[in-house]
């Protein structure tokens, strides 16, 4: 699939904003949520980030004219919104003082996350998820976009606004770190 001439989401958006937006959400919700989950490292923040990103997408789309919509690459565009939001709130969080002097944060009681989801999270790649969370932001973003949600390198370069070569080097450094960290344990 990817950025074909007649992206169904773009076609739907040109037709009708609310219907097109539903199409955008349904086509990319898994991709956006998975990205958000692996960037933020927890379920509740990922839900917040996903909801906020789609809401911003909607508000932006409401102001776009037909030409702008006709040129839109919906998938790359919505991922760009997620990445920008995440960077802004990560920057925001880093300004706050560290919350506690504990080595490990306490397991948070999450009302948004059901028992099954918690169980699933702990089973599927909890360890790998934790290793991912320890990567520097650049490398984590590149690895998540390339290998978790399977975007092509060219699209990642567009989203992160860096050259393709840089994307590739972030990915390979990230993977190397993951292998080393995973092997040591």
């Amino acid at each position: 699939m990817g950025v074909s001439e007649c992206d169904p989401v773009r076609k739907a958006l040109l037709n009708d904003l609310d219907g097109g937006f539903a199409e955008l959400f349904n086509s990319h919700r898994g991709l956006v949520f998975s990205t958000a989950l692996r960037l933020t490292g927890n379920w509740a923040d990922a839900e917040d980030l996903t909801a906020e990103a789609f809401l911003r997408a909607y508000r932006a789309l409401a102001g776009y004219d037909q030409d702008r919509l006709a040129a839109l690459q919906p998938r790359a565009w919505v991922v760009t919104i997620v990445m920008n939001l995440w960077r802004n709130c990560a920057r925001h969080k880093s300004r706050k003082p560290p919350p506690a002097l504990l080595d490990e944060p306490p397991e948070r009681q999450d009302t948004a996350e059901g028992v099954e989801e918690t169980a699933a999270r702990h089973e599927t790649g909890d360890e790998l998820g934790r290793l991912l969370a320890e990567l520097p932001d650049d490398q984590r973003a590149a690895v998540v976009l390339r290998h978790v949600v399977d975007l092509p390198v060219s699209e990642i370069a567009d989203v992160l606004k860096i050259p393709q070569g840089t994307v590739k080097s972030h990915i390979s450094r990230g993977l190397k770190r993951l292998r080393t960290a995973g092997g040591v344990r």
């Binding site: 959400f25 949520f33 379920w43 909801a51 790649g125 998820g129 978790v148 993951l178």
Partner: protein, 244 residues
Amino acid sequence: MTNDPLLAGLAALATDAPEGLYDRIAARWVRVPGPIGELSVAFTDHGVSYVHRGEGFAGAFRERFGRPLVAADRPPAGLLPALRTGRASGLELDLRGLSDFQRDVLEAARTIPRGEVRPYAWIAAVIGRPKAVRAVGTALGHNPVPLLIPCHRVTRSDGLAGDYVFGAAAKEEVLGGEGLDLGRMRDLAGRKEFYLASDTTGVVCFPTCHNARRITRAHRHGFRTLAQAREAGYRPCKSCRPAA
């Protein structure tokens, strides 16, 4: 496909978005019968957020809330009885996005029972902002959920219904439908009787209070101000709280 366990593990981290996430983004909407014709009503996972009458619902909603709308299969629980009976105090409302002042005004208006009215100044007094009478009018004029929060039950002290989100005529129609006698209100206002007292109970009320409506003519005394009523030995009613 890859044989690399790390890449396979990363690919396995992809997941679908949780159920119900769309309800945090979009609002649902229904068209329902109301006391003054058909209404369009939008609601979110927090409650009813918008009540609109006439054309242009979707555009007005988008302008005001910046959220997509999805048609709902059925109205939220409690909406139809609330509109039918004019009693909506149990209905969940989504008032996010309003200022604290607006919310206070609307919460105060919400306490006015069906068939009764209060002056704008009363709302201002109840929320502890006695001088903000005009701002109260503005806040009521921007009530996102008219009828469910009965801003129509706040009226001018001269006996006229006053402005309304759906227009002054609609306000009179709704109040009439709730059993309010607007002609009587105007007569009383014409005689400058803004408070009614009973010499059997010694209590003074707003004229539309259910306690005031029970006073028989022989025992009824009208007052222009609450101070005059108090001077005459009457205490303010605890239901309609004219001294709030």
